[in-house]
Symmetry: D2
Subunit: 248 residues, 4 copies
């Protein structure tokens, strides 16, 4: 038996390069934006215009969050290994795990694995009760700074409505947030990761790859942070502050 | 003395998030594509339309190259650590160093550090002579598969001409390629990394960050490869082939 | 309130460096071996002689497994980024996750979370029944090559007996293996990861850090593979085999 | 043509595992310490007793430096991705580059590439003059905290003398330090990385792999830092301090 191992993502001949079946030079370079190309890579087809607006919006939301554990780790790594920009970006990406990128994944999974049909309020109630019984945090709700409403969620849900992606998953996470607020007695608005998880679900993106949207977006932000670290170094100061006496 | 450490890239208040001085929810989400947002992150301003076309084209060229050392490393890592998609992507990025992403950087550096003015043919000749004397490979020239012309270069240089980025750096690398072909007695066309290094130079991007364009683009491709590995695993077969007898 | 953030692992003054409270130059360098120093780092005290023999044996077992997904990923990364040996080692370590290093952790967790007391045969029976009901693989049992007995397990269990670490955890995993063999109708011997998980439990090492023993040991092996890749490169051949037609 | 790709480091059959030609279970587990096993991996033979003392001493010196950019990056990564201990360790290793582990490599390279023979004082003088002319820092000299003498160097050089490794490389770096102090007009003692680079050179270790000794040693320290972060989390505090107002 003979088998040629090959990726369906890309292949090349002496004269042509194909990505997802499209001729890279004839059909893609100069014609398709980076965000649409990312959609093509993941979904095996180019996006329709509303999909393009929505997918780019999800990714744009995730690129840049200022100084975070992820960007600080990248800066500290660049400080120690200035020969390898790619290693500093990789170090930053390594922190996009269960606590950060993972909350999108967990929110999308919660929605995609929810029982279909039935009274959606009851489904939401059961989901909240389940997390409470397991003493687990409900993914995609609440934010340490944006207490009453996450401005990104408001914007993303408005865009979803405009572009035809405000369907059952968006509805369900809103019901979960309402129920959670009632049960826990405090504001627990849908945060940006919950909104992204819900809208990605509307777009047919499997929860298994939603963390990847955060990873690809954040790689852009991390490159920018390494560039800023080259021009305006902060790593030594961050290191020094970690050890000094601090008034709290 | 009091100083607040802060990145100029992003900051947030209770109600607003700013990226490079723009209100993220009001001005960017839903209005700016991922590629243009990457330009904003790196260049501290949104791109003009020709800049948008050109920057997205450079990045799109770098996303996907099929099964390469970088994507194979990501697949093998996912095989061992399926709990952490971000680690598989990071492992793939770690190989985007001097040999791969680095050739863009080296080509851009060669062009940006070339002497200004004078007869450009003489400048090209001196550069080729310098690499030859140091027994170093001239970055951005030649390709193992695309012997006579890299189709991506042809396309990128045409786009550069259409969008106003076919200036002195593009001219210089073409002169270097001509001179190198004459000196070494074989075709040494400008390859995609040389074209990207030259055009990035035309766009005012420092050579120090050009490797980062490859890194951010390839992060997208690596997420897609991890998704494919989830659905159509190849890692065990790659491992097995590494050890078996092979007819060559 | 004032607090000095500091690690209890190490600190330095102008004249002295302390590790876990020991003066590095006076008490450790030249007096303590690398393996014993690792024990000190993890356990906050130097090992007694039997602990030293046992801990070094566990780590030694995990250093080198030849060409594996982890070492192949390191070689491919070094091929792309020869400027950063540390990145190649890191890429290899990233694959020491749930499937590889993780099986030690899972075996140790299974043993450390098992109910205390009672008839140990019944405890083993219940554990096997639990994994079977959840359709999960029992960690630490079976091996694709070493079908009937893993030679490392035989050796490690003999050493454990000689050094006073053949206690209830070793007994329990042996009972689990016997029960599993009966239930599944095939040989399922305790493999090296199961033996290490059991012996680490005997030594008082929390299951949460057992994966770390594999990580520290494998870092040594990965450095050696990068050295071999420098001297006898295989990465290009591994890449090439991944793409070619293969007879199977 | 037929070729079997295989590493000379390790291979296994159904009954036996070999590392560098030694039967792992019969000859190594329980008989060889982790540090000696690392020597075997790198040098293709087990160490003689003085080699064992010296090699373990070099590695022990490099394991633990308290809170550094590398260990902080690992802690921040663990904070974001608690599912993958190996990724936190890898993130920490990524910073062991040109600035940290690299100084050992650069010192060893300087010594191993120095001209043989002649008046060693003149060789040292020429080396110092060369670095000065290129405006480069001489690797292996000086330390921000240990101004007049690095206590680790004193100890390592004493051990080297006791064990027969105080030869021409140790002599040369001491001459370089004397000459540099005279030329720059300030104390520039051989620091720990310089001492390690010199002694590794005495032991026949190629400068190309000396950075790897730091990498393997630091992997141990990073596992211990992740363990401490599990038990006594500091990452959130480090993040918070990075952003707050600080009195300096």
């Amino acid at each position: 038996m003979t088998r040629k191992l090959k990726s369906r993502l890309g292949r090349s001949t002496a004269d042509q390069i194909f990505v997802r079946g499209h001729d890279l030079t004839e059909e893609l370079i100069g014609k398709v934006s980076l965000g649409d190309f990312a959609f093509l890579e993941l979904m095996d087809r180019l996006p329709a215009p509303p999909e393009s607006v929505m997918f780019n919006a999800l990714a744009v939301t995730l690129v840049e969050h200022g100084l975070t554990p992820s960007t600080i780790a990248a800066r500290l790594t660049y400080f120690g290994a200035p020969e390898a920009l790619q290693a500093a970006v990789a170090a930053g990406l390594l922190g996009m795990g269960d606590r950060f990128g993972g909350s999108i994944e967990q929110a999308a999974r919660m929605l995609q694995e929810a029982p279909a049909g039935g009274d959606r309020r009851e489904v939401a109630r059961d989901i909240v009760a389940g997390y409470r019984a397991r003493k687990e945090v409900i993914p995609g709700l609440g934010h340490p700074i944006h207490k009453s409403a996450d401005p990104r969620t408001t914007r993303l849900f408005a865009l979803a409505a405009e572009n035809g992606f405000s369907g059952p998953y968006v509805r369900l996470i809103e019901l979960i947030a309402q129920k959670a607020a009632a049960v826990y007695g405090r504001d627990l608005p849908v945060n940006a990761t919950g909104a992204i998880g819900a809208i990605a679900s509307e777009m047919g993106i499997s929860w298994r790859i939603t963390r990847g949207i955060a990873v690809m977006a954040r790689a852009i932000g991390l490159v920018a942070h390494v560039q800023e670290e080259m021009e305006d170094p902060m790593a030594a100061e961050i290191w020094s502050r970690s050890e000094e006496e601090a008034s709290k």
